[in-house]
């Protein structure tokens, strides 16, 4: 019974990993071909498409990567079994100071962007990129998620990222609203008291 079950699980693993890898490749190719098709790469539409495709490819890669990790493909990182309940605290003052320094540095860059009055769209892209890096640093080191079990991170983070990305579905509507308004009305100042 035991060996049959193990066989079954192995087959399941192989099929699941194959499907995941296939889908990941598909989305990766879609992202690349989107880059080719889009004439101007730095538009919001194109960036959105690329980001969504890459994200989906990444999500589908999680399962094969975990499987590979379990089967010792990245075994160099593992050192012995972890204790049942982790109460000790990792990270030194030096590490936290370095993280703080990084956060302050990135804030400084952001403020400098405002000082030099970089064009709005470019500024938005850079600001969001830097903010995501800063958020990742805070979550990983200050909130200690890097030192927790990987299953906790996998439970909390991908779900949150997908939900937030789903909220982006509203943006085409806001563009439409904006165009509708300027198309139909000549600009007036009387609409606002």
């Amino acid at each position: 019974m035991s060996s049959r079950l193990q066989n079954l699980m192995q087959k399941q693993d192989v099929i699941l990993n194959a499907i995941c890898l296939l889908l990941a490749t598909f989305f990766f190719i879609l992202a690349l071909s989107n880059l080719r098709w889009a004439g101007n790469f730095l538009t919001i539409d194109s960036l959105f498409m690329t980001a969504v495709c890459l994200m989906l490819a990444g999500v589908f890669m999680i399962n094969p990567a975990l499987w590979a990790h379990e089967h010792g493909l990245f075994a160099a990182e593992e050192k012995g079994a972890a204790p049942a309940v982790d109460l000790h605290f990792e990270g030194t003052t030096k590490l936290f100071l370095a993280v703080l320094g990084g956060l302050l540095g990135m804030t400084l860059v952001e403020v400098l962007l405002a000082y030099f009055k970089v064009p709005l769209e470019l500024m938005l892209t850079i600001l969001l990129g830097l903010s995501i890096i800063k958020a990742a640093l805070i979550v990983a080191y200050f909130m200690h998620l890097r030192f927790e079990r990987i299953s906790l991170m996998l439970t909390l983070v991908p779900m949150l990222v997908v939900c937030i990305c789903l909220l982006l579905i509203f943006f085409p509507d806001s563009f439409r609203l904006n165009k509708m308004r300027t198309y139909n009305q000549p600009p007036t100042t009387t609409t606002h008291e």
């Binding site: 804030t107 200050f142 909390l156 939900c163």
Partner: protein
């Protein structure tokens, strides 16, 4: 026929763990789940703000680099350094040094308080200029005649909710610091998680509300 147990051992490698599946206590897991839901609240608000801004013909960009942006940068520094002191508090508590943990938490609360005072001062300044949730000051309307009146609504809603979180965190940390003798290390760590989350939210509010509204012509 103990297939159930066999399946369980087969998946134990990464996802098992019996009563502690994530190898953390239930309080900490609860705080993490709360943080996830709160992160969704804030991202919905920020995306609502972006929606209103993109759907408007014109959006006021009233914050002059000096003093407005420099002022809010100071607030950011307060919050970032208070996050650092909170990490040190958790570290001290992990080493069993409760006195040091209390002192570091005190430093964190000081940073939070400074942030609150500066923020309220700024709100007061904007309100006295004439900014209200659904109307803009007269001078702004002269400069941006088609500007959306939703500026005030988004500004006060987002920074107000964040300010409320800072205030709540301030009270929470105060309680933890006062009763630190009865607290376990986990309690201190959980309060730290909340405080870092407040800091994390500001890392998105500050660029999106302040830096993107910098006065591009002034």
């Amino acid at each position: 026929m103990s297939t159930h147990a066999e399946v369980e051992t087969a998946v134990t490698a990464d996802w098992g763990g019996g009563t502690l599946p994530y190898r953390i206590g239930h309080k900490k897991l609860g705080m993490w789940l709360f943080i996830v839901s709160d992160a969704l609240t804030f991202s919905a608000l920020l995306i609502g703000y972006s929606y209103a801004r993109l759907a408007s013909n014109q959006w006021p960009t009233p914050f002059k680099f000096s003093p407005s942006i420099l002022f809010s940068t100071t607030m950011t520094l307060c919050l970032l350094s208070s996050s650092f002191t909170m990490v040190m508090a958790v570290k001290a508590s992990a080493h069993g040094n409760r006195r040091a943990a209390r002192r570091w938490i005190g430093g964190t609360m000081l940073g939070g308080l400074l942030f609150l005072v500066l923020h309220l001062y700024e709100w007061n300044h904007l309100i006295s200029e004439g900014l209200k949730p659904f109307s803009l000051p007269k001078e702004w309307l002269e400069r941006w005649p088609q500007a959306s009146p939703l500026f005030g609504a988004t500004f006060f809603a987002i920074t107000g909710l964040h300010m409320f979180h800072v205030f709540t965190g301030f009270c929470y940390l105060g309680i933890v610091a006062l009763t630190i003798r009865k607290r376990t290390h986990e309690d201190v760590e959980v309060s730290g998680l909340y405080w870092h989350f407040v800091d994390l939210v500001w890392m998105f509010v500050f660029p999106m509300i302040y830096l993107l509204s910098v006065d591009f012509k002034g």
